[in-house]
Symmetry: C2
Subunit: 309 residues, 2 copies
């Protein structure tokens, strides 16, 4: 079976969704511990104004730190050109600009239309192209609310496909489907991956960002795997996304995802025991935040050694 890349988004999507601000030293320890457990890509933060998301105000420092960890791809989110400038100055390896398929959500979230977002994307791509070749970050367009929107409800597939094409044309290296609202179902995941790949090509759509809001996170991940997706986003302890209690975490729980992948025989490069231990560090730094995860509660099956059975 093939290798699946797990992109840990907890330090960004997790921490931006909760009230407590994790100290920078704790974030560094978290990032280092996950990298040591074998995680090869971490979204360490987002370059947004600190007054909007004070939880992520230290993103530049985290990028600089994470770059010192060997073999780690350091990813960040940017909402606009200004954020991309900061991300490039900090030395991020991968930059994602999210574009809401729901224009209502785009206007509510970043006060920009689709046309404006594509224009911003083009400017960022030009900025990246102007960098020395060995310093150009990978540039992804994030197709957010791709599976539906809490404001608009279902979003037209034609809009999704049109934006996927425009993002690539504007200069993205790839696009990723994002279930921002936790609306996705497995049949839809398969259908939309196929549809987007039909427009941008298989190579340019290799990752998905799924949530677990309605409990379908791992079923949707399975559907994505069956379509040949090779990068999956998740969050340690399921922190973030749209929090509902109890058990209704927003993000897919990294530990549960790793257990599923390993038990099915996928290679992850991750030491699950070490990954599970990272929870203690995060919980200590966020004493009032509930960490989710079934595998952490139940333990791995008797005799499980990280391989298929």
């Amino acid at each position: 079976m093939s290798f699946i890349e797990i992109s840990e988004v907890g330090p960004r999507d997790g921490l931006q969704s909760i009230e407590p601000i994790m100290p920078t030293a704790a974030k560094k320890a978290w990032i280092a511990a996950e990298a040591a457990a074998g995680i090869r890509e971490i979204e360490v933060g987002s370059f947004v104004p600190a007054k909007l998301l004070p939880q992520l105000a230290d993103t530049a420092e985290l990028v600089a730190y994470a770059r010192t960890l060997p073999g780690l791809t350091v990813a960040v989110l940017v909402p606009n050109l200004k954020g991309a400038e900061a991300a490039i100055a900090a030395g991020a390896h991968k930059i994602t600009i999210p574009i809401s398929i729901s224009e209502t959500h785009s206007l509510a979230n970043v006060r920009r239309t689709h046309v404006q977002m594509i224009e911003e994307t083009r400017r960022i791509a030009e900025l990246i192209a102007a960098q020395p070749e060995d310093q150009r970050p990978k540039f992804e367009g994030g197709l957010s609310t791709a599976f539906g929107c809490t404001l608009e409800g279902m979003v037209p597939e034609a809009v999704l496909l049109g934006l996927a094409e425009q993002l690539m044309e504007a200069g993205c290296d790839e696009v990723g489907l994002s279930d921002t609202t936790g609306y996705a179902n497995p049949a839809q995941v398969k259908r939309l991956i196929r549809a987007v790949r039909g427009v941008v090509g298989e190579e340019a759509c290799s990752g998905v960002h799924l949530h677990n809001t309605r409990g379908l996170g791992l079923a949707n991940a399975l559907a994505a795997l069956e379509e040949g997706i090779t990068t999956l986003d998740s969050s340690l302890g399921g922190i973030g996304g749209c929090p509902f209690a109890p058990g209704a975490s927003g993000n897919i729980v990294t530990e549960d995802l790793v257990f599923m992948l390993q038990s099915m025989g996928f290679e992850t490069g991750i030491d699950l025991d070490r990954l599970l231990q990272v929870r203690e560090l995060v919980q200590a730094a966020l004493p009032d935040t509930e960490l989710y995860g079934f595998t952490a509660e139940a333990g791995v099956p008797k005799g499980f050694a990280g391989g298929a059975y």
Copy 2:
């Protein structure tokens, strides 16, 4: 898309796993409310000695009551011939005898070897055959711990296949794979369904009983659906199975399963809104028991009307 039968096992697998004893009147109200919401099969109890499982001591009365609900298949579990006699006397439509693939678990659980369990199965099949034709319940052999055992760890596939064959030879109408321990992964679910069907035929293996102990319940259900399984067990509010807190319910949550199926376009015959309302009744009767369920917490997607999207 095809019709998927959801077999509600909460009144049996749920209630046997928790300490509080639900009053018979509340159980009847629960069963009636689920039937009214469109659930067509309910496992209402188990014919075991009341001193072992006082929670299920009223099973005969529940069978008699549930039989009065039009269109409902009334299922029960029996551990032995004595239980089967009681089930037939009560008028159950469907009888399941569970056999642990792990003989260690079988000895610990019912103090019987595999040979003894097959012998018991044969006696039950003979008893059923001796009933008037229109009063013979359907007889299922439940292949429990099929995906691994908390005592033995992994169980040999050859033992599983051998027992599946022997159960059919002893007179079962069908066999069902049961993930008693929550060990199953989607690749294993597919592999074992194919293997068991290779031995007993497709028709004789149409249902699976999955748990959600490690969060893979719906992913495993998806895998089973993709293999053509048409009956899935689940429990309202995820009650039962092996309880771990928080969020780590044992059984698959019926409401989440129904949402997944409907959103994918499967027919279920179930009114999800009415099903979600049944939670209130159950919660009122079990005030100290935590009900799980992501869909209940998050609500259905905006614009969702029970069909595919």
